[in-house]
Amino acid sequence: MSEPREISLTIDGREIVAYEGELLHDAARKGDVEIPVFCYEPKLGDPVGACRMCLVEIEGIPKLQTSCSTPVREGMVVHTRTDQVKEAQSAVVEFLLVNHPLDCPVCDKGGECPLQDISMGWGPGKSRVIDEKRHFQKPIELSPLIGIDRERCILCYRCVRFSQEVSEDAELQLLERGDRTFVGTFDDRPYIAPFHGNITELCPVGALTSYTYRFRARPWDIEQAGSVCTLCPSQCNVSFTVRDERVKRVLGRDNAEVDDGWLCDRGRYGFEMFESDRRVEGPQLRGGAATGWETAIERAAEVLRGRRVAAIVGDASNEEAFLAQRILRDALGSADLDSRPSRGADRASLVRLAEPALGAKVRDIDDADAILLLGTDPLHSSPILDLRIRKAIRRGGAKLAVATERPTALDGGAAAAVRYLPGGATGFLFGLAAALRGGGESPESAVAEVLGGAERVVVVWGDRVLREENGAGALLDLVATLKLVERDDSGLLEVPDFANARGLREAGCLPDAGPGLAEVAAGRPTEQIRAALESGELDAVLLFGVDPLRDFPDTAAWDAALTAADVVSFSMFETATAAKADVVLPLETHAEKDGTVTHPDGRLQRVRPSATRPAAVRSNVRVLTELAAALGLDTGITSQPSAFAALTTAVPFYNGIEDSDIGGRGLRWQEGPSAANAPAAGAAGAGSADATPRSSSSPSEIGSAAPRRVSDEPAPAALSGTDAGGLELALGTYRDLWAGPLTELNAPLKFLAPRQKLELSLGDAEKLQVKTGDAVSVSQNGSSVEAEVQIKERVPAGVCFLSEGVAEGNANALLNGGPVSVEISKLERVEA
């Protein structure tokens, strides 16, 4: 895209250089001229010019103009402090206060309130209003998390615009008219939507406040601590509001390269679980007995020393992951290490996928002509990307193609949406590549049509694609077909299962790759580790921030494995997995730890300690170095800086990156000092530079061998009814946004904890004679879970879906790593 032309204009006598067409308010800020605004918020899209606070005088135009909506022109002369402007701005403040209760002393916003600040700076300072103000019942619940005080509202309707045009849930509306206008929902229903917390931050007055923060602190009691949320791979930049060294609130710390200034409600409200009574607040021995650190480290070393040990790393910073792999490889001499809950691609493929030319930045989504959403629903797996893709469609005119197992939240805005059967991404991808090369009419053609004409293409893909036999090969085949390497502002953007999956990988937590994806003697991946623990080929396992009994496929097998083996578990909460451990070592939360993480697009970001750890919790890095020392390995690491230095030295493409380079905004290593050291396909040994991946059968062979795709047509015969008369359906699973400890351990979020729902097509439900709300038993090979039927229009026939990670009826009990079919039977409810 061509750079916009630079022009110069004069504001209050200052010469300001701005881009042609830039809005006057923004241009003024470049020249340090502040023009007050209430309704204007560029994140919400086009200006609306409603509050009239930003009126300024432009020479040559008789009437005052709103600077939020006026594009700048060469030679424009603007005045923001003339008597005429001052009078108008002061008048607008006076008008805003006509109906505002001025209850600042009891308002949570007091001290950090734009209305207060602007009234002080631009207002008349004295009220002429003696008339009665409008009254509303207040505060009332807008949602279980947000209270609304309609008397304080100044009707900038930022919240309504967010709901309508950013999150597109369209729940918030302006009701009534004139000064009787108020913000509400249809029929006063609660506003329940996964991003709704953002409206509390958008509100320029104290009208929308979170119940989690109401009356908890005053701006002069608190400190803001910038960090990164590591609850999902979005890694949004956050600012923790800390009072008395405890987190009281989470705010966004706008970073257009990462989160675009929004947070999801997980990230915003998840912090209360830090203080849950199920938090592991100190080292424990088997049975939950608290113990001292010396004993704990010694006991852990005993469990591991001289034995056949594996390790699985999950919720960890890059430094923690690096240390964990050093302990395993260098202190224990094992190669059995992984950082994935199930199967994954081999090193050669991962090296190919890490090539900088293949990767897209988050920001590339904004300007993409076409986006392919493959095998993931961002709403559940990386929520902030959901908003980003909506923005690309709404404001950038991007076309979206969705290809997933399960219907996604983005289907509604998609130009094409195709479903494939669970485990059928590979077949779909080869089909798509064929369609792009000009194959005939196929279910993939619709997607090919969206991608075919586009110049800038971003493929947002779920890393579960790599669980399939040749998923990586199929993905690389698409990359080659689309020639993504040669295109600017295009590429792949991964949505992994683990928040810091890329960091763990690059720090060396893979069975066949060391730090920097270096070639190492190959060990066992996750599934083989589980089998070896169960069979006794391995004696013990070190678990760091993982809960296999909740989060990994095949719960029964994991239970057997963890029962058979000795376990050292680093865990944040008392989980079923931790209960099986010989030693449980407490983990810091992301508000407490110090370290770096790597965003799926390669951006190194710094997680900074913001809150104090519980007294008996120690820094994870310190615990790992002490454990290493107890096992006879001197890592030379004494602190976070030395751990970071060791990491950047060990990972060739992190070489030379300093903490100051990362700063508050992060640094993509692809744009860092050692980008040239990026793993190259040429160095990958087995893998070669040619587009067709190692070990793959030819695309057509795969395509025909495993046509696991569905379209509008009935399910393939092999998957329809069984001769036993019962109905066997392919099972697809997903991780519900709200599944897990976040909602279970967090009092304010408990209402969101999902019940297990079996999503079915209408046709299959009719065959099973069940309707929405019925209880059913879903079984597979002897294991079964209970679920509540939910008939969904967009679920294809022959498939059903369950969520992983829920407290009751976890789908992981039915999975075994590959595609499975389940049998469904209706349960008769016994009336109490």
Partner: protein
């Protein structure tokens, strides 16, 4: 029967109920011949230049040149729209109602020709919901026009298409504001949009859109049939043509009167409308609907009734609706009544209008209750100044200008009301006494 002082063009033959039918329209006034001629023989530019040359000014309130407005629409292959603004909701204005009720086909023919000028393929008549009878009449007329091939596809065999939809509003004054009308038509909350972009560039559904008032469009068939010079033969240099003037308030014969622009205002009020009731005198009047600054009898009665003369006198011709207040009307009551209307109708989107109309109403209520001080009159005046020119659309100004003018011109009366602690003569209410309504319709 038409008064001889009237110049009936738009209301020609209006007494004959047959004019409502397509057959009657053709027979009585030669209807649809202008459209047939335009569609068969004229190019878009010819129609445009005829309209521009005629000097026809918008009859909805702003008085902008209709031809010029139509020429702002971009050329090229894209969906363009024409919207007829029939959301006549201003207190004092009822001329569009009569035009649609008496002669619906004149409007439809005007729309068809204007669509040719604007190259629009879809047209809408946005009619206020309260005009139910008129909407029914339009519905029937539109159906007749489709039937006769004046609307629809391949009109008159010219391969031109035009779809016309009559859309009933849901009862909000603000939807008469052109951008709010577009939002309401799109099914959204009827709030004004930020301009620019102007509707001519980006209007309905994002397409270029021409929006005109009922009376403006009703003028189009004759201008195109008889030429710009014929039209300029009526009225003044800057205000050519005739105007249907709604006269209401304290006069003997309230109603609609079609006159040449430039006629003396006294002739309108005293001549056509019969002047004030016996024994009463005109104290002040709104020359262009409730949103125009009031003129005192001394200021306004001898002015020519034209866009330019009214603007020069510090008021405006607006939609051409005169509301007369006689010497028994309490101006503070009138100010309150005016403010209440705009307070009720303010959409609430922009601050000065939302809060200004509310605050002004509350202060005026205190004034008429006698709970105010003269200082409050200064505040009222200053609040009106703070509204004018600062709002998103003109609704705020529409209250601030007349209320401001009343406080300025009749300050002594306001002070007297305050002094007498609300002891207002009970007869001085604004609603006219029963028994004098119904001169027309």
């Amino acid at each position: 029967m038409a008064d001889p002082r009237e110049t009936r063009v738009l209301l020609d033959q209006a007494e004959d109920p047959a004019l409502r039918t397509l057959e009657g329209y053709k027979r009585l006034v030669g209807g649809y011949s202008s459209m047939e001629n335009a569609y068969r023989t004229m190019e878009q530019d010819e129609v445009l230049s005829e309209l521009e040359d005629s000097g026809l000014r918008g009859r909805g309130g702003a008085g902008f040149s209709m031809g010029k407005k139509a020429s702002f629409l971009p050329r090229g292959e894209m969906q363009k729209y024409l919207c007829c603004n029939a959301d006549e909701s201003e207190p004092g204005a009822f001329k569009d109602r009569e035009l649609m009720q008496r002669n619906p086909h004149q409007l439809i023919e005007g729309i068809a020709i204007a669509a040719l000028a604007a190259d629009a393929g879809h047209a809408f008549i946005f009619i206020r919901g309260e005009y139910n009878d008129q909407a029914n009449i339009l519905d029937r007329a539109v159906a007749e026009a489709y039937e006769a091939g004046y609307l629809g596809t391949n009109i008159l065999g010219t391969h031109r298409d035009l779809e016309l939809v009559v859309h009933r509003g849901a009862g909000a004054y603000i939807c008469g504001e052109e951008t709010a009308l577009l939002d309401a038509l799109e099914g959204k909350r009827g709030n004004p949009r930020l301009k620019p972009p102007f509707p001519a560039v980006q209007g309905l559904y994002g397409g270029p859109t021409l929006i005109n008032n009922v009376e403006t469009l009703s003028n189009v068939p004759r201008i195109v049939a008889r030429g710009a010079d014929w039209f300029r033969g009526f009225g003044t240099e800057q205000s050519p043509g005739t105007k249907v003037v709604s006269i209401s308030g304290r006069v003997r014969r309230p109603g609609n009167y079609e006159v040449e622009l430039g006629i003396s205002t006294r002739e309108l009020i005293y001549g056509l409308a019969g002047g004030p009731l016996p024994g009463r005198a005109v104290k002040a009047f709104f020359p262009g609907g409730s949103s125009s600054p009031v003129l005192t009898a001394a200021e306004g009665l001898d002015l020519p009734y034209s866009f330019e003369a009214m603007a020069e006198a510090g008021s405006m011709l607006g939609s051409g609706s005169i509301i007369v207040a006689d010497d028994r009307v309490s101006i503070p009551q009138l100010a309150l009544r005016t403010a209440r209307f705009y307070h009720h109708e303010s959409c609430g989107k922009c601050t000065p209008c939302r809060e200004g109309t509310n605050w002004t109403t509350k202060m005026l209520e205190r004034v008429v209750r006698g709970e105010a001080t003269p200082m409050d009159l200064d505040i009222i005046a200053s609040v009106q100044q703070n509204i004018i020119g600062h709002c998103l659309c003109v609704l705020g100004d529409s209250m601030a200008m007349p209320v401001g003018a009343m406080v300025r011109k009749f300050r002594a009366e306001f002070e007297e009301v305050i002094e007498t602690a609300g002891g207002v003569d009970p007869h001085t209410v604004v609603a006219p006494p029963p028994g004098i309504l119904g001169a027309t319709l």
